[in-house]
Symmetry: C2
Subunit: 342 residues, 2 copies
């Protein structure tokens, strides 16, 4: 270790990543896109491959006291498929590596893989490789997903242009609210193990947290309709945080409208019950794994009647900033809190 | 968890992998080869991509009390490049995910990446993606490597044929002997922290353990010479264990000769000093990351003068079994102990 010691918390996760990536050199022409988007892009002759990877640790990314193992397996695949979708590519293959302690039985590992296999079937991906090893403390899962696209079909973070329309799929904030419910019930259970968790009325939000879908369906639909988003990301860290990434990569600003933000009734009601502002949950709650993308004005007609795509605002000049227009018509500066793992 | 509880130790790592893989279905034509070789093979139009991944945990795969962080980073890349080499493919891209505790400073993470970047330069691969997250207990590194080959250039485990010649690169047993030296010096240090470790005379073997090379050079040379091995693996679990995998996948037996097994003088001397049988270290010591491959008799002339390729035996019928012919001329049954992570 060197003499100087800088804590990671001083520069943050994104600061650390920036610092590490300054020293990386790309030498192969086939490495079309390196670090800096939802997935890397590799030339494959008549098409391109996209590659993305996520590392998930027990106690950091999932809590086995309330997350059933099949759900953990499903989610580990879904979050990677979601990153492939975020490039407007079709996920085809995954590798799955796991590290387990001797607390896990063969049956427990099979339960985990039941979820992994269910996700493979649901998303149409093949499990083609991986690694199995032992851990001294808890379950570790590493998934790499590989997808395909034509080069001109890819959507990067960097392509948003002034006057583009900002779209989001599904509804937002549910996964975050679901996490709060699960954490609350866990505390109740720890305080009194005879108490049964009350989860029936929170099924939608807890499912959003425990077993999220990835919007591969939207990628297929966009191809059928003939729309290539000018930019796209998946919403893993929170809507505001992802908008900041698109603005930075594209050199643009954005204006979004509070009354256009999609929120499910159960998410709204549960947020209120938990004394949280529903709009804050929508803007900054992570792990919804919906897609945020921008389209050119001329593509609007093709999507306007889609039941699961919502038009939440538009792209403006970088100098005009990033704003949220509240229901009362006031424009306030958008803030990205995102999820901090450090 | 289900009612029945089977311990993983009852069925072993390979038993667990077999059991999990029975339930996996492959649906895409582009998934040319799934689990069961050193890497998966994915169609890429005019060529194929190979994909391999390894998950490395502090305290299981490396010990930071004697492994410097740059070496850990280098090795994490090397072991994956080695799996690409084992397919007779050229590594082109890698992704690296890390999980770290707050015990790691920014400078420590930079030291790790200095080794990763050095390996990228050494092996000619581009670091194109990854994930950075926090860990509650120790460093976790997950690397995925992607390589390229023409379909007809690939060497699988399953292609060995009767009368083929068995080749190994470099020398064997060094990494295992190096590990024993490092563990011994660690115990000495723990017993008396004022003792300085004596590592000068063990530089070759400790380097084999801490900073192994991957034989991407051999893959390039085989292409230049125009030899495609009939089967190939890298030696990560030990020579005997890898031979068993080739025999099983190819439906063959093997005969190897003790006096043909390559061992470095320092490996030999250190094994003797540590009261270990040098040949057992060569046969069952893991982590050398040399290549073992089989060639047809007609290709022998092209390789016979290669200074770093050794011809250790030949492939025979499955019914004739797997044998080691000792220096005294006695044929003994070959046993695979391999490395057990569980």
């Amino acid at each position: 270790m060197s003499e100087k010691r800088t804590e990671i918390s001083e520069i943050g996760e994104f600061g650390l990543i920036d610092r590490l990536h300054q020293k990386i050199k790309i030498q192969h022409e086939s490495s079309l896109k390196g670090i800096g988007d939802d997935a890397a892009v590799i030339d494959a002759g008549d098409h391109v491959k996209v590659v993305t990877t996520d590392l998930l640790l027990e106690g950091v990314h999932f809590d086995l006291s309330y997350a059933p193992l099949p759900h953990v397996g499903f989610k580990a695949v879904a979050v990677n498929v979601s990153d492939v979708a975020a490039m407007n590519a079709i996920a085809k293959q995954i590798t799955v590596s796991i590290a387990i302690t001797n607390r896990f039985s063969v049956e427990a590992v099979e339960a985990l893989y039941a979820g992994i296999n269910a996700a493979c079937e649901h998303f149409g991906v093949d499990l083609v490789g991986g690694d199995t090893t032992s851990s001294r403390s808890g379950l570790v899962i590493s998934v790499t997903a590989i997808g395909e696209a034509q080069k001109e079909q890819l959507s990067y973070r960097s392509g948003a242009k002034e006057n583009d329309i900002i779209c989001v799929t599904g509804d937002l904030g549910g996964a975050f609210v679901g996490l709060q419910v699960l954490e609350r019930e866990k505390q109740v259970f720890l305080a009194n193990p005879n108490m049964q968790p009350e989860l029936e009325k929170y099924q939608i939000v807890t499912a959003r947290q425990l077993r999220p879908d990835a919007r591969m369906d939207i990628v297929h639909e966009l191809r059928e309709i003939g729309v290539v988003p000018t930019s796209m990301m998946d919403i893993s860290d929170g809507l505001a945080s992802e908008l900041f990434h698109i603005c930075k990569a594209s050199g643009v600003g954005v204006t979004i409208y509070e009354d256009k933000l999609p929120i499910d009734k159960q998410t709204f009601d549960t947020a209120v019950e938990l004394n949280m502002d529903p709009i804050t949950c929508v803007l900054n709650g992570g792990e919804d794994y919906e897609l945020i993308f921008t389209i050119s004005q001329e593509d609007y007609k093709k999507l306007e009647k889609h039941p699961d795509i919502h038009f939440i605002g538009y792209v403006n000049k970088e100098a005009d900033g990033k704003h949220l227009v509240t229901k009362s018509g006031t424009a306030v500066a958008l803030k990205a809190q995102g999820w901090k793992h450090f």
